[in-house]
């Protein structure tokens, strides 16, 4: 569209009988719309790629090359074995399995809970609905670290419940109840269960989407005798598929990348995710961080994320830009 404007402007100038000015205008325009943005974007792209480049470069360096000064920009002797070594230095695959478990559970939870909740906020007209939705929106900006202590304490109480001997004492005859599974602190529970209870941003996103589906569709189904759950699962859910893709991607990304959650809730090494596992490279006693191995492990953690991003780019981007609708 910018070129059309340029052409129009040029035409105006030509009509004024000033061919020289038109040519100059065209050149200024070309510089302003093609050259300057391009140079700026290329420089910014080089800067933005630098961390990735350096991560891979450092990952492939040998121990000698790593400490060489000045640093080498290109790897002289790539050590592909660093990847192998990095996965052996820490229990990498165990941490990877934990991370995948948590991520998969969070994605499943988000895909189940958020559509149901968003349906209640968009397709059922109950008194006070929009006021309650304002509360949902407000929680988007809730600073989680502010309630950190009490939040952890809440999960500690939840795990205390499972440790209590639950039983019924009936006239001196005690009937033991089966032990509840511990889903509180020291398990994946605190990382996974919240996903099954919905997240404000995803509810908002899906609600926007569901409001656009004509209500007539629901009314027609209702006339045919469908109940609310059938309308939800049979008509509305299938129509929200693109938004569900966004939610799967974004919730998975958040779970994979989470650091604070695993840090406070996974108390034993057997449960650690990669986020915590990677800090093991730091806490080596000799304070001499093996940056090449740490970067090699980072590459392995980041690689799936980058691959998924490149394949499903539009889901990432539409999910990120939907927030601006709210304005």
């Amino acid at each position: 569209m910018a070129t059309i404007t340029a052409a129009q402007q040029q035409e105006i100038a030509l009509r004024q009988g000033d061919a020289g000015r038109a040519r100059r205008d065209r050149r200024v325009r070309f510089v302003r719309q093609q050259v300057v943005p391009r140079i700026f974007l290329i420089i910014m792209c080089l800067i933005f790629v630098m961390p990735f480049y350096w991560m891979v470069t450092q990952a492939l360096k040998s121990n000698e090359e790593l400490v060489r000064y000045p640093p080498t920009w290109f790897v002289h002797d790539p050590q592909w074995g660093n990847f192998q070594e990095a996965t052996e230095k820490i229990p990498f695959w165990k941490f990877a399995r934990n991370t995948i478990t948590v991520t998969a559970a969070v994605v499943i939870g988000s895909l189940i809970s958020n559509p149901i909740i968003a349906y209640g906020f968009s397709r059922v007209n109950w008194p006070g609905r929009d006021k309650v939705f304002m509360v949902v929106l407000a929680t988007v900006f809730m600073p989680f670290p502010a309630i950190l202590v009490a939040y952890v304490d809440t999960w500690k109480r939840i795990s205390d419940v499972s440790r209590k001997d639950l039983g019924i004492n009936l006239f001196g005859l005690s009937i033991p109840l089966p032990d509840l599974p511990n889903v509180g602190i020291g398990t994946f529970g605190p990382l996974v269960i919240p996903a099954f209870l919905g997240s404000a941003f995803f509810i908002f996103l899906l609600r926007q989407f569901m409001m656009q589906i004509p209500l007539d569709l629901s009314d027609a189904a209702r006339m045919d005798g469908a109940n609310e759950w059938q309308i939800f699962s049979g008509i509305v859910m299938p129509l929200t598929k693109p938004a569900l893709g966004v939610i799967a991607i974004l919730s998975g990304l958040a779970a994979w990348n989470d650091f604070l959650g695993p840090l406070i809730f996974l108390l034993k090494e057997s449960l650690y995710t990669l986020a915590i596992g990677l800090t093991f490279f730091q806490s080596q006693a000799d304070r001499d961080i093996k940056f090449n191995l740490m970067m090699a492990a980072s590459v392995l953690v980041v690689l799936p994320v980058v691959a998924i991003f490149l394949f499903f780019q539009r889901y990432f981007i539409s999910g990120m830009t939907v927030g601006s609708i709210k304005g």
Binding site: P127, P145, M295
Partner: protein
């Protein structure tokens, strides 16, 4: 509404819902519980949102209430909290490290958020031009936003290392003295602010969506009237982008005040507490020191109130500078 009466007059009358179901609205008089359909809708609505209600009450409202409660106690996590009144807040007022961490947090937020908006805006303006290779730029510029913060932190440890880092190897070439970024109290916060800018691609895409929504005829009209590039930006683009900027400011402030992972991984709050941010300080009190969970909760209360106050400030002054046309 039967089909035979489909004349022009009926088109003006909103059709009645064929079945008095979920769609019924509160057009009739009387409270909702008087009507059977309304009661049914209430039941259905609450049933559908019940997972959120459980999460909100159990994992947001209760912890929030308990944060306020614990801030008035001495608490170690195991025994019952012991009520000590305003003692934690009295202690905060005399705690230099608390004010230092508060200062660091504001320093970071007030620097990182506006710079982030400017960088994102510049990227968006550049990407708004019709260049054929824009999708490539978009992909590259967005890519760092999906990196986990802990991985970014690791990368920047080596990228900004005075010995093995790429950045300090380049700086002398452009005539700058390479600092010891994370080892020097004067530069550590700046380095973390700089790190944050690698997430600008995400906001740039939000801005770009906003720019695409601006009617191009406005620019054409302004151009014919002889308005220059800067004039057009400040008189057309910026005013029309204010709602998007408001959104990014609130989001940026709220997440800027929570800065934690970078200092936890890279600097451990140092050097000389120059990267000891509020949440880092809170975390330490809560999990590294014993019996300080009440004190940490008092910090949490402060963080909560600051967030609410700042978001409120941005929101309520917004009618002065946000354009809602």
């Amino acid at each position: 509404m039967d089909a035979t009466s489909g004349t022009s007059s009926t088109a003006l009358i909103p059709p009645e819902p064929a079945v008095a179901g979920v769609r019924a609205t509160n057009l009739k008089a009387g409270p909702w519980w008087r009507s059977r359909t309304e009661r049914k809708n209430m039941r259905l609505g609450l049933l559908f949102i019940s997972p959120w209600i459980v999460g909100f009450l159990g994992l947001t409202l209760y912890p929030l209430y308990r944060t306020f409660y614990l801030s008035f106690t001495r608490f170690g996590g195991f025994l019952d909290a012991e009520w000590i009144g305003w003692a934690n807040f009295d202690r905060l007022l005399g705690d230099d490290l608390f004010f230092k961490s508060l200062y660091n947090t504001f320093y970071y937020t007030l620097l990182a958020v506006p710079i982030g908006v400017v960088v994102a805006m510049m990227l968006a303006l550049a990407m708004d031009q019709s260049l054929p290779e824009i999708p490539l730029y978009r992909t590259i510029l967005y890519l760092p936003s999906i990196l986990p913060l802990f991985a970014t932190a690791f990368i920047f440890m080596t990228l900004l290392d005075p010995q093995q880092g790429l950045v300090n190897d380049m700086l002398p070439a452009i005539g700058l003295n390479p600092p010891n970024w994370f080892g020097d109290a004067r530069y550590a916060k700046i380095a973390i602010v700089g790190m944050a800018q690698f997430g600008a691609g995400q906001m740039a895409l939000v801005f770009l969506a906003g720019l695409k929504g601006i009617d191009t005829s406005l620019y054409e009209a302004a151009e014919i009237d002889g308005a220059g590039v800067l004039n057009r930006f400040f008189k057309i683009t910026l005013p029309l982008m204010t709602p998007v900027i408001l959104y990014s400011l609130i989001l940026g402030i709220s997440s800027g005040l929570q800065v934690f992972t970078q200092s936890f991984i890279i600097t451990n709050g140092g050097p000389a507490n120059s990267t000891n941010f509020l949440v880092f300080n809170l975390y330490r009190n809560a999990f590294n020191y014993s019996n300080q969970m009440g004190y940490a909760s008092a910090m949490g209360v402060i963080l909560f109130l600051i967030t609410v106050a700042l978001a409120g400030l941005v929101f309520f002054t917004s009618n002065k500078w946000v354009n809602y046309d």
